[in-house]
């Protein structure tokens, strides 16, 4: 039993719904109580889909339990077939139905439906949404893919995009364009927008692009094993990763065409003088493993940030993230406990978070700007405009995404110069965010610097030594603009505890500043 307030992932059957809803001509018969129908709103409201998810819930009730929930399931299955005439059906149980052990797969198999029926075994009390999507897609591929000749032209399948995916809609466009530049066609994109008939054609491609390991890796591995299709290991998010991806594709296919980089703007934007202020900004990165890996490389190598911490919520990728953290010289955080993530961020005191919608809320509370780079999704993660993460345009989008939350170059200097201006101050936030700059209320001298969230006079444990901020130092710290204050505080505390200094004075603060000045 684990007390949970907010979750990064839904249950595994929601992952199966992401596959089913992304696809066309497939129907999901889900043995589940009525309340589980809430999941429809994820697709109709958050993703703004104009169709109901293709899911029939059996919606059994307590009074059905003693009698015959199995018949209820079969009726729902038959009704779903008769009404929707899908090309294939997937059947499974939600957490409650798993407990009553009706065996939807076995029941459906006895019904003699004239289309393939694919049973799903998704252990609700052990696994989560991404596993559910990955496993469901794998089962569909395993049941439906047919051995066949490769296409005459070199083609690839794009694997892993689902309904409710973080920018999947636009990533597909971008990767398709990238391959097109190389003279490579797209055979099937799946699961998003694919029909069961399309799934059957998967083995015609020469190789697979694994766009999202979280939701496509099991299928990609199976296709490699069973149909001899190699798959790409590099996810093309960021400039360097996209270039590496192109090299990887060249290696797999032998194509020699060059990619057209004329649309790519990130390298110049990042080199232009206006971006100097981005140098060494300390960022904390958290999300799904794939997006975290990509964001770390972009942050360090393409934006010139410093990675102050990183982690992911999907344990399946814990090993990758631990290796990554080692490479970046930080402690990995593998957790799906929102409060633990909040604590880690509070301790790391980054100047910006690259995270999920959850971290956006953490950032709001801690007064740290946050750019959203990963699922779980929110209605804001489905912008009307074209907004991929992958490929050249994805890199451009990410440059904007990572710069937007920050105070901009010259504005930063003005804040340094006039830090106590009545409308241009800490609480006003970056001026381009539209929030009204509230005039600062006069604060009694004694209260300055002691807001609830940042009380630097607290005793902190670092390297086993308790460090106390003396009032004068605390006041001085408050004079440092808010967007570098976290860094200054963190550096000073590290500096002090490394030297066994128990009390931080103004002197210590400036010694630390000199020490860390680069």
């Amino acid at each position: 039993m684990k007390l949970t307030v907010w979750t990064y992932e839904g249950p595994p059957h929601v992952g199966a719904m992401r596959v089913a809803t992304g696809m066309k001509g497939l129907h999901y018969v889900l043995h589940a109580p009525q309340g589980d129908t809430y999941a429809d709103l994820l697709f109709t409201m958050i993703e703004r889909r104009d169709h109901r998810p293709p899911v029939s819930y059996t919606t059994f009730q307590a009074r059905d339990l003693g009698s015959d929930t199995a018949t209820l399931f079969k009726t729902a299955c038959q009704d779903a077939y008769d009404r929707f005439k899908p090309q294939a059906i997937i059947v499974g149980a939600s957490c409650t139905a798993e407990l009553i052990q009706d065996d939807p797969g076995g029941l459906a198999a006895t019904m003699g439906l004239p289309v393939p029926v694919i049973p799903l075994e998704l252990p609700s009390y052990q696994r989560k949404e991404n596993f559910g999507a990955d496993e469901t897609f794998f089962q569909i591929v395993r049941h439906l893919a047919q051995p066949q000749e490769r296409t005459a032209q070199i083609t690839a399948n794009l694997l892993g995009a689902t309904g409710l995916g973080f920018r999947h809609r636009d990533d597909i466009e971008e990767v398709t364009a990238l391959l097109h530049d190389l003279g490579i066609g797209v055979n099937v994109i799946a699961p998003l927008n694919a029909t069961p008939a399309d799934i059957a054609r998967l083995p015609a491609a020469h190789f697979n692009v694994l766009m999202y390991p979280e939701t496509g890796e099991a299928a990609a591995r199976w296709l490699e094993r069973s149909h001899g299709q190699p798959f790409t290991k590099i996810v093309p998010i960021g400039v360097g990763a996209t270039r590496d991806f192109i090299e990887e594709v060249r290696g797999l296919t032998g194509v020699t065409a060059k990619a057209d980089e004329s649309r790519l703007r990130l390298p110049w934007y990042s080199s232009s003088v206006d971006s100097t202020y981005l140098t060494g900004k300390r960022v904390f990165i958290f999300g799904d493993a794939t997006h975290v890996k990509a964001a770390a490389r972009i942050a360090r190598d393409e934006m010139g940030f410093e990675v102050a911490g990183l982690g992911c919520y999907n344990r399946e990728f814990a090993r990758d993230i631990r290796a990554l953290a080692k490479e970046y010289g930080v402690e990995p955080l593998i957790s799906d406990d929102y409060l633990e993530v909040e604590r880690a961020i509070e301790i790391a005191q980054p100047e910006m978070i690259l995270g999920t919608q959850m971290e956006r809320h953490i950032g709001k509370r801690l007064g740290i700007p946050c750019a959203v780079i990963s699922a779980p999704v929110h209605v804001q993660d489905f912008p009307a405009r074209y907004s991929p993460q992958m490929g050249w345009e994805g890199a451009n989008v990410l440059f904007d995404t990572l710069v937007h939350p920050l105070v901009m170059g010259l504005e930063e200097h003005l804040l340094h110069m006039f830090r106590e201006d009545f409308e241009f101050h800490d609480d006003a936030g970056p001026s381009h965010h539209g929030g009204k700059a509230a005039p600062r209320a006069p604060v009694a001298e004694a209260e300055v610097g002691v807001t609830a969230q940042e009380a630097p006079d607290q005793v902190r444990g670092e390297a086993g030594i308790h460090v106390v901020w003396l009032p004068a130092a605390e006041k001085e710290l408050k004079k440092i603009p808010f967007f570098v204050r976290g860094k200054a505080r963190k550096n000073t505390e590290t500096f002090a505890s490394e030297r066994g200094v128990a009390e931080i004075s103004v002197e210590t603060l400036y010694e630390a500043k000199a020490h860390y000045a680069r």
Binding site: K2, L3, M45, R49, A62, C95
Partner: protein, 428 residues
């Protein structure tokens, strides 16, 4: 004397045969009530004993994650809890102890049952009793079920309030209790009107804080402010309290009839009643009229959702001039919504339960001007060209009593106004 709503000449809908459906439903489960109950009861914590699905439902229904630690959470059952129930109880005790030590502000803890906890038969009543002993007197531990195999959507509030009733203190005082979780601003308006009529000592269930809960006894009379409180109604009657039946306080007519029923119980004179209600009534009528112009003559189709459907259909048909085609409700408790059914002119199909695909067929065939439905259906129906109003907003928005009557009508007129306003075609 103030005119009360009159039963239509053609008779009401109380005896209209109900179309009972038992197919696939598209409704939330009772856990959803936690979203508003935890805001209302400021020293209560709602601990769902359930699965990841339950946690995900709460998160998705809440829509936003405003609070670092809201006053609700889910104890997610894991494989090991399913194996041994004794261990599950130990685990629960441990999680509760940890929670309460971190949240000393909590005075009431609700253990909320879910489908999984019921199917594996975790006895939460026993757990609540045990934990109450451990944590009393500071914290009272109660339990109810919000599971989807037992409850739909607003029935969660009913189950919650019903669980509180046996624990309420006993009194012989002649007191009025208003039953149903209302937004504070609305509750204050209701209390203000009653006080102006000289009806003092009015209590509310639920109260904002545990120490303000009402006491109950044979001289208690109670009025429901929500139509979905059937079990709470029964529990209060078991304690000897007496219900004041009335239409529900939506719109001018509903509010007036509801207030009049309470006023009659307390012998308030016509003059006093008139003087207290005249001004807000006039305001309500004016506010409704502004919105009703857009609703007049339009048709409306209700999918089952919150059990507010019957009283709202009464309001829309009588005060806004709409025609109801179908009034679907998860559950029709005639003892509670009978007075509202009496006031609805015959014509609409009245349906209970759901078979969502068949109901969608009926809605498409009827092509209503406005469809009231849940979040899962709204956008798909909009894409088919039907204007919709999501029902959950009716539960999350202050809509009761005179001052909100215009807002209530506005919730229905806005989708129609928007549909008329958008010009997305080429100008030609």
């Amino acid at each position: 004397m103030t005119e009360l709503p009159r039963i239509p000449a053609s008779g009401g809908c109380r005896d209209t045969p109900i179309l009972k459906e038992r197919g696939q439903r598209e409704v939330f489960c009772g856990l959803t009530g936690i979203i508003w109950l935890h805001r209302k009861m400021q020293d209560a914590f709602f601990l769902v004993v359930g699965s990841r699905t339950c946690a995900h439902l709460l998160q998705s229904a809440a829509g936003v994650m405003i609070f670092a630690e809201p006053r609700f959470g889910t104890a997610i059952l894991e494989e090991s809890d399913l194996a041994g129930l004794a261990d599950a109880h130990d685990e629960l005790d441990r999680e509760v102890a940890r929670l309460l030590s971190r949240r000393p502000d909590i005075r009431q803890l609700f253990l909320v049952g879910s489908c999984p906890s019921e199917v594996i038969k975790i006895d939460l009543a026993r757990a609540a009793e045990r934990l109450s002993k451990v944590h009393s007197p500071h914290v009272r531990v109660l339990n109810y079920s919000g599971s989807g195999i037992e409850t739909t959507f607003t029935q969660g509030e009913d189950a919650c309030l019903a669980s509180m009733v046996p624990e309420l203190a006993t009194t012989d005082a002649r007191e009025l209790v208003l039953v149903g979780a209302l937004p504070d601003v609305v509750e204050d308006q209701a209390l203000g009107l009653l006080e102006a009529m000289g009806i003092g000592q009015v209590r509310c269930l639920p109260a904002r804080r545990a120490d303000a809960e009402p006491a109950i006894g044979p001289n208690t009379v109670f009025a429901l402010t929500q139509p979905f409180l059937g079990d709470t109604h029964a529990a209060l009657e078991r304690r000897g309290a007496r219900h004041i039946p009335a239409p529900f306080p939506f719109g001018d007519e509903g509010t007036t009839a509801w207030l009049r029923a309470v006023a009659d119980e307390f012998g308030v004179s016509d003059e006093v009643f008139e003087s207290v209600t005249a001004a807000p009534r006039a305001r309500a009528r004016k506010a409704i009229a502004a919105q009703a112009a857009e609703l007049n003559g339009k048709s409306v189709f209700f999918f089952p959702d919150s059990q507010l459907e019957v009283p709202l259909a009464r309001f829309l048909t009588r005060e806004c001039g709409m025609d109801a085609i179908e009034i679907g409700s998860p559950f029709i408790h005639k003892g509670l919504v009978g007075p509202d059914l009496d006031l609805i002119a015959p014509g609409p199909v009245i349906s209970e339960g759901q078979d969502v695909d068949r109901q969608l067929d009926r809605a498409r065939a009827a092509a209503p001007d406005l469809t009231v439905c849940g979040l899962g259906l709204a956008n798909p129906l909009e894409a088919e060209g039907l204007a919709t109003k999501w029902a959950i907003e009716l539960v999350f928005t202050p809509v009761h009593f005179y001052e909100q009557a215009g807002d209530l009508a506005g919730l229905f007129s806005r989708p129609l106004r928007r549909k008329a306003k958008l010009k997305l075609e080429a100008a030609e």
